[in-house]
């Protein structure tokens, strides 16, 4: 359906275990640097949720022999602002820089990951910012609904049910020594995947990576592996978070699905597109937004991971329409599970997903994200070339089976946050 894309990345391993993946693209005189460390919020000690996140906020302060001002000077001089994110499994530093600036910027990224100083003053400034962010989240119906659905789906004590950013109660007491201990135990060269994409040759990338990270020695504690099966019981769960001062209610309606390595992944991908993405929100958008005019947004998202990841239906509606929107979600979810998708829907979704690949890999940053995912889930360096065939092979029956296995309204976890107190 779609010609082979052929990113043709090259993978090298530095002597200290750093994995380097390089793809040269001529699009721009620029390079994307993406450095992913296999250390995310799963590694947070019990009761100290938010440790990985707080540490991530300190990476771009003093590091190695550089004072915080020197780090800031390098970043601002080159017009670079790293995006530092923490998921359950990884901490990722990524940034774009001009092609001529790769060496100094990558050198700095190496220092940030290898030796963050976590000075007391910086810890307090960054903790204050994190606490403000947590307070802002408490005031956002969409964030609260999204955050609350995970413990409902997985259980409050499951690694996927714990909050990645923690809470004010868990972030407030984290000590500098705990951050440094976390770093020493979890950050190591053999846990680092460095992806460089852009106007750079493989040999130049290897030289720059070796200069930046080659001298790093160390070993990390064993990886944290969450239980494969979520412990939360597959029964209908419903939580209302009343926020009477708000104008609109946000609904999150979720299920657990499959692991990324499950052969059914591509059928789930197609099924989710039919349910909540194709056109403007798939079947859900067609019903809730287009036909009933109830919501500005209605759709679904699907994320398979190292354990069974979530499929989440989301919609933002006026409080008066919450019950009607939930009923509509029930109908669409149950209908897809009962009858499957039509041949035309599956054909359209497959054509969309295959046709979108060249566009979704247009920028250096997008290619870097794709290669990080391929590395994280061991999908192979040629994954971009095989992906169209994998999607094309999905059958109507496989999509129906994915829907039947997962989309069971009686087992959904539902959260409503906003000016709504229940019907």
């Amino acid at each position: 359906m779609t010609p082979t894309l052929g990113l043709a990345p090259v993978r090298e391993q530095l002597a200290n275990g750093v994995t380097l993946i390089v793809t040269q693209t001529p699009t721009q005189p620029a390079v994307t640097i993406s450095a992913a460390m296999s250390a995310g919020s799963l590694c947070d000690p019990i009761g100290a949720e938010g440790t990985a996140h707080l540490l991530s906020r300190l990476l771009d302060r003093a590091a190695g022999t550089r004072a915080a001002d020197e780090v800031a000077d390098v970043l601002d001089f080159h017009g670079v602002s790293p995006s530092i994110t923490v998921s359950r499994h990884t901490t990722t530093v990524s940034c774009d820089c001009l092609a001529g600036d790769v060496e100094p910027v990558l050198g700095l990224v190496g220092d940030m990951l290898r030796a963050p100083a976590c000075l007391d003053a910086d810890v307090e400034i960054r903790r204050g910012q994190v606490m403000t962010g947590l307070r802002e989240d408490e005031d956002s119906p969409s964030t609260r609904a999204l955050d609350a659905v995970m413990p409902l789906l997985y259980g409050a004590h499951h690694p996927y049910g714990r909050a990645t950013k923690g809470s004010p109660a868990t972030v407030e007491p984290i000590e500098r020594s705990e951050l440094l201990d976390f770093h020493a135990a979890r950050f190591a060269p053999d846990r680092l995947t460095l992806v460089l994409v852009g106007d750079i040759t493989v040999s130049a990338a290897v030289a720059a990576a070796t200069e930046a990270c080659g001298g790093w020695r160390g070993q990390a504690a064993p990886l944290v592996s969450p239980p494969l099966l979520p412990p939360a019981p597959p029964v209908h769960r419903r939580l209302i978070i009343p926020m009477p001062a708000k104008s609109q209610a946000d609904i999150v309606y979720g299920f657990t699905t499959i692991v990324r390595s499950d052969p059914a992944f591509y059928a789930y991908w197609v099924m989710n597109n039919v349910l909540g993405q194709y056109g403007i929100g798939g079947r859900l958008g067609q019903s809730i937004r287009e036909r009933q005019g109830m919501a500005y947004y209605a759709g679904s998202m699907f994320e398979a991971g190292h354990i069974a990841g979530p499929l989440l239906v989301r919609a933002g509606v006026n409080a008066e329409n919450v019950d009607r929107a939930l009923e509509s979600i029930d109908i669409e979810v149950a209908g897809l599970a009962r009858d499957g998708a039509t041949g035309q829907e599956v054909m359209r979704a497959k054509r969309y997903l295959c046709g979108a690949m060249p566009r979704s890999l247009e920028t250096n940053a997008a290619i870097a994200r794709f290669l990080q995912t391929a590395q994280q889930f061991d999908l192979g360096l040629d994954h971009d070339s095989r992906l169209p065939g994998l999607v094309d092979a999905v059958t109507v029956e496989a999509v129906a089976e994915a829907a039947r296995r997962t989309l069971i309204p009686e087992q959904a976890a539902v959260v409503i946050a906003g000016p709504y107190e229940g019907s």
Partner: protein, 436 residues
């Protein structure tokens, strides 16, 4: 694969320029880095064109223009580009309304067909209009859930007394409940004409061939009258304005808005550099924030407010507009810092720059940041298409191409001059959201 989409200095390749017989402006840039093409269709209509009772009409019309045409049924319209794996969207702001699709290059003709249909043959079905009314009210209410957004609307409305930039693009809720299908259809017919539009094509195309395809799809649309507009010039502000919103919430927010120059003003480039020195360089793209955080660690206000622990975040907003708009500084109060203290510290820092300008080394860093961001933001044919069409629509021909050189030429004296002129106390509106 051949060629880079932008030069190291950030200057985009010159587009192929054409004007169809009906007045439609066409800009085409060949970029053969991927088998993709991006089509943008821009209209010179935005919320500044709306009179009393019609606030929100431009945005609502944009929504209606996804609800089917004579040639594309309503239930197929939003799936039309998906058939090619394409991305599609539209947005409305104060000066402009635009529609975009990016897909594989074999979709070019269908993308042009869709835009030609949208320009001339939208349905405006009565039931679809009513359904979309509640969708838009839902969009408005979703925005109201965010106190920072709420404050932005109030500060903007206070800063402008006369110019229609004062009302939000989504409109006032009373107008959204009152507007009729005929109001919207009349608005559509008035502004959606070739003479009020610019078509931009960027991607893996042959420019001559793409122009022929554009002529085939758009050439038959009648020119229509050039919309006449009455312009209101905002009178000079004569004193500081202040406002407070007290509402249930968890966090305090502050905004300081100064009247600022339009894109064609000679002061525009020095103001970009001033903003970069104060809050970090964002580049020239309206959607720069989507490209990642702003480099701002050494920026004046970041150091004095965030590094010092008074604010959790600070940001500046200054973008190209057709008429003089606003330079707005926003800050989020850190826990433990009273809003009044944050306000006084922010105003003191801004007053210092108003009185003394910015030293040459900080100006040089701001210029370099801006130049890097301009290169980095042109990272896709979609973004290049946006920049070309956006500047053509709000600023006119030539402005975008000249900006990198104009930024490079900005001196610390230029920055001091615009700081003294625009950061004056009498030119500002200060607003804050006090959580209770």
């Amino acid at each position: 694969m051949c060629g880079q989409s932008s030069r190291p200095d950030g200057v985009l390749p010159p587009p192929r320029v054409a004007v169809l017989d009906n007045g439609l402006q066409v800009r085409i840039i060949e970029s053969h880095t991927a088998p993709l093409v991006s089509v943008w269709c821009w209209y010179g209509v935005g919320s500044k064109d709306e009179g009393p009772g019609l606030t929100g009409a431009s945005h609502w019309v944009e929504h209606m223009n996804f609800k089917g045409t004579a040639g594309i049924p309503a239930d197929e319209f939003k799936q039309f580009i998906d058939r090619f794996g394409g991305f599609w969207n539209g947005y409305t702001w104060i000066d402009q309304t635009t529609y975009v699709a990016t897909a594989t290059k074999d979709a070019l003709d269908q993308m042009l067909f869709l835009e030609a249909e949208r320009m001339d043959r939208c349905l405006y079905d009565a039931a679809a209009t009513e359904s979309e009314r509640t969708v838009i009210v839902s969009e408005l209410q979703g925005g109201e859930n965010d106190p920072d957004h709420l404050l932005d609307i109030e500060v903007t409305a206070t800063a402008f007394k006369a110019h229609p930039y004062r009302h939000p693009t989504i409109g006032w809720v009373g107008d959204l409940h009152a507007m009729s299908r005929d109001d919207l259809h009349g608005y559509y017919r008035r502004y959606y004409t070739p003479t009020n539009a610019t078509l931009v094509i960027v991607g893996d195309v042959d420019a001559d061939d793409a122009l022929r395809q554009a002529e085939r799809r758009f050439g038959g649309i009648r020119a229509g009258a050039i919309p006449t507009r009455r312009r209101t010039v905002e009178p000079a502000q004569t004193g500081e304005r202040r406002l407070e919103i007290e509402r249930e919430g968890t966090t305090g927010y502050l905004k300081v808005a100064y009247h600022a120059p339009a894109a064609t003003d000679p002061d525009f480039a020095p103001m970009l550099v001033l903003d970069a020195a104060l809050t970090g360089a964002k580049g020239l793209n309206l959607w720069a924030s989507f490209g990642g955080p702003t480099p701002q660690r050494r920026a004046r206000l970041y150091r004095s407010l965030v590094d010092a622990g008074h604010a959790a975040a600070v940001d500046g907003s200054f973008v190209a507009t057709a008429d003089p708009y606003l330079f707005m500084v926003s800050a989020t109060a850190a826990g433990g810092t009273p809003l009044a203290e944050l306000r006084d510290l922010t105003l003191a820092a801004l007053d210092t720059v108003c009185a003394g300008g910015i030293p040459p080394d900080e100006v040089a860093r701001a210029r370099r940041q801006l130049q890097a961001r301009i290169v980095l933001e042109n990272n896709s044919i979609t973004n290049i298409g946006h920049q070309v069409g956006f500047f053509e629509t709000v600023a006119g021909p030539g402005v975008l191409v000249q900006l990198p050189a104009r930024i490079a030429a900005v001196t610390s004296e230029d920055v001091a001059r615009v700081a003294a002129r625009y950061l004056a106390t009498s030119n500002r509106t200060v607003g804050w959201f006090q959580p209770i």
